[in-house]
């Protein structure tokens, strides 16, 4: 049986067929659907869960591997930074049951805060990394990764990119085969004290040599000979772009194993072609390897370090050919992503803008609070940095900003890594004000349950973190819960907590408007006779409201009746 599958879906299928029994991940675009699809399989065969963050997910998967079961975790590229700590040492312990970590890079930053190349982590952790270039390979490479993991006693990283993770192509289905190992206590292998880790490092270096030999003949790396005029060494999506751009005008060395890289295979290929190119998105890792082994390919001197490549880009760079196209003379207004109509975050950011405070931002839908017309955000770095960053900001400003600075962080992000920053605020004491935007879901990645909303990945009831009690227990005495849909209450409480001579948390609690469980009111209408065109309703940046023919107008296909705009209108022009 064959069907169209997303790359992420094909990885999940590969996990199932490989007999994986434990999956633990934290959502992150473009990796999220791997675990969502994994959770659609029978949990008695392959159990899945959302972990509080990537480090926990990775450690749980390492534990499952110790238990002798094939295990897995998935994350986006920046999530691997969070999980790097356990990964680098799991490289020393090795595995019992096979352990594979999937990481999805986001070339082009479709939904990310940076464009880091995860291959650097494979090099740093000294673990093999496989990189598929379509959905069929996603499934095959996933299965092969488990064999490599067990054969070489190592974690294996499966590297995806946005294009591979989020493209559908044809996948053939096979049956599941379970592979299990017994657990035996083995301190020298599994306790990484210096005395045990020193001999392990020697083994790791030997393992890399063996893996490099494996790479010379592995089916993961393949040569496709056509013309000897041009030779292309490429990996992942870049291979597909090159293959389409140059067809049979070139020969190809497609590298499916991107760490460690083969030597002889590359030298032999280079010797067969007149002009050698390395086509790799982001960093110059294959190119640098080529130079180390004495080759002089054309690489980043011609191709960019930035963003995604394409067949058109490569055709232009290598062959000098350009596509023709037509365009209009009109300026086409941009259409950036916006907070949805009825978004519970809107009232918070409107209030923060009105108060003119410094806003330490974080990663989630609410990062859209930085966009016009709300523009109520000063900084955004990574998950959790809003809370810890605000503490540093306030300390460095010697308290001067404590009454006019806040941090904003979502419920899922707060659990991920905001809580440690809050402990620091209480322990090292700044009178910081932290707003937890609790919309009862992990929103931006497409609605995943999390430890604060009382449901597990299967939608079954689960323990829910009591955010109020948690904040109290780490030493925050002032914890207030508000409804961010009430602008007067929101403003009053934020002002009160900013003025307080103590650290404080305001939990802004209202579920995401897109949740199926949320009941919406009927759309509001503008009474044109009452509308004075003062445009006060426009200040909240709701996509459902516009000025048409000189009067405010509400799009009834978008409006969910949240009523925020009715609180803006001084003339009572917005009616049910």
């Amino acid at each position: 049986m064959a069907g169209l599958m997303l790359g992420n879906q094909a990885v999940a299928r590969g996990l199932y067929e490989a007999g994986v029994e434990f999956v633990s991940s934290y959502p992150g675009t473009p990796s999220t659907e791997i675990t969502e699809f994994a959770s659609t399989y029978d949990k008695n065969e392959m159990y899945s869960e959302w972990a509080p963050n990537e480090k926990v997910a990775c450690e749980a998967a390492i534990g499952a591997s110790f238990a002798g079961r094939r295990s897995f975790c998935a994350m986006k590229h920046v999530g691997l930074n969070v999980a790097a700590d356990p990964l680098y040492t799991a490289s020393y312990t090795g595995v019992n049951g096979g352990f594979v970590l999937a990481v999805a890079d986001d070339q082009g930053m479709h939904s990310s805060q940076n464009e880091q190349d995860s291959r650097n982590h494979a090099i740093g952790a000294k673990v093999p990394m496989l990189e598929p270039s379509d959905s069929g390979e996603c499934k095959e490479f996933t299965k092969l990764a488990y064999e490599i993991s067990e054969q070489f006693d190592t974690p294996v990283i499966l590297r995806l990119s946005t294009r591979v993770a989020h493209s559908q192509s044809i996948v053939e289905l096979e049956d599941r085969k379970t592979v299990r190992y017994d657990y035996t206590k083995n301190p020298r292998k599994n306790i990484m004290t210096p005395a045990n880790a020193k001999p392990k490092h020697i083994i790791v270096e030997e393992r890399t040599k063996k893996l490099r030999e494996y790479a010379e003949t592995s089916p993961l790396n393949r040569v496709e000979m056509f013309s000897d005029e041009i030779g292309i060494i490429a990996n992942g999506a870049a291979y597909q772009y090159a293959r389409e751009a140059l067809g049979e005008k070139a020969s190809y060395l497609k590298l499916g194993m991107v760490n460690p890289l083969p030597v002889k295979l590359i030298k032999d290929f280079a010797a067969k072609v007149k002009k050698l190119y390395v086509v790799e998105e982001l960093d110059d890792i294959i190119e640098t390897h080529c130079r180390k082994i004495g080759l002089d390919p054309i690489g980043k001197e011609l191709f960019t370090f930035i963003g995604e490549y394409s067949q058109t880009y490569l055709r232009e760079k290598i062959l000098g050919e350009k596509n023709e196209f037509v365009q209009l003379e009109d300026t086409i207004p941009v259409r950036p992503p916006v907070m949805c109509a009825g978004c519970p975050h809107r009232g918070v950011f409107y209030t923060l803008k009105k108060l003119g405070v410094f806003v330490s931002g974080d990663i989630g839908c609410y990062t859209l609070g930085s966009a016009a017309p709300l523009e109520a955000m000063d900084t955004t770095v990574c998950m959790g940095a809003s809370v810890s960053g605000l503490h540093g900001f306030n300390k460095a400003m010697r308290g001067e900003y404590e009454g006019k600075a806040v941090a904003v962080i979502g419920d899922s992000t707060f659990i991920h890594s905001g809580i440690t920053g809050l402990i620091n605020i209480a322990y090292n004491r700044t009178n910081s004000t932290v707003l937890i935007l609790d919309n009862s879901i992990t929103g931006m990645t497409g609605h995943q349950n999390n430890p604060a909303n009382g449901k597990n990945i299967y939608g079954d009831p689960a323990a829910a973190v009591d955010l109020e009690a948690l904040c109290h227990s780490v030493g925050i005495d002032r914890v207030t819960v508000i409804n961010p849909g009430d602008l007067a209450e929101t403003e009053r409480v934020i002002k009160e907590e900013l003025a307080a001579d103590a650290p404080s948390v305001i939990i802004c609690r209202k579920p995401c408007a897109l949740l199926k469980t949320v009941k919406h009111n009927p759309p509001f209408k503008v009474n044109k006779d009452k509308c004075k065109t003062c445009k006060a309703c426009m200040k909240i940046g709701c996509p459902a409201i516009s000025i048409t023919d000189g009067k405010a107008q509400i799009d009834n296909t978008l409006c969910v009746g949240c009523g925020l705009c009715t609180q803006m209108c001084r003339f009572g022009a917005i009616e049910e």
Partner: protein, 191 residues
């Protein structure tokens, strides 16, 4: 060897371009083609400009479509047709929903929504058809069925058996929305 064909679905996040691409992908697969579909998830879905690439033929390598490469652009919104026009191949065809959805710069009054975009595109010598898919979707029972109305319209000219389309609808549309979507498909096909 069948030539590679490239179709783009463009629209505004939330309009259901993903479902439409799944339907189209299923039909092409049942016709025996190699198919690749490239989607956008995550941040840009939040009311932003979204695009899905669909390529089919004997053997497809790259899943993406670049400027000057699309045989057909199916646009769910008029401004998006204009935005993605440069991606159309010479001699290509655009089918657009005539619906206009204001982007944030227009809502804020910083920029104007350009006028007569369909006519301007046609004046460039481009084969463009505009239909009021929103009205047809509302007639079918839900403004959210714009995507399936457009699939109905495409089904007429794409040259695959109607049974393949119906099977794709059965495979891709959630059961409780099936009746409305079958109606929407029929209305689109009837245009």
């Amino acid at each position: 060897m069948a030539e590679t064909k490239a179709i783009m679905l463009v629209g505004v996040g939330g309009q259901g371009t993903l479902l439409a691409s799944r339907i189209l992908g299923n039909v092409l697969l049942s016709a025996g083609y190699d198919v690749k579909v490239s989607e956008v998830h995550g941040m840009s879905q939040r009311g932003g400009s979204v695009v899905t690439y669909i390529k089919y033929g004997d053997k497809i390598f790259s899943p993406v479509i670049e400027k000057g490469e699309a045989d057909v652009i199916i646009s769910f919104e008029e401004l998006e047709a204009a935005r993605w026009l440069p991606y159309l191949k010479k001699g290509g065809k655009i089918i657009t929903n005539s619906q206009q959805i204001n982007p944030m710069p227009v809502i804020m009054g910083v920029q104007e929504y350009p006028e007569n975009l369909t006519e301007k595109i046609r004046a460039k010598g481009v084969d463009i058809t505009a239909i009021d898919a929103l009205s047809l979707a509302e007639q079918a029972g839900s403004s959210r069925a714009v995507n399936v109305v457009l699939m109905g319209l495409i089904s007429k000219t794409a040259g695959f058996p109607e049974e393949a389309w119906q099977a794709a609808l059965d495979a891709c549309v959630p059961k409780k929305a099936m009746e409305i979507n079958k109606k929407a498909f029929a209305l689109g096909r009837g245009v």
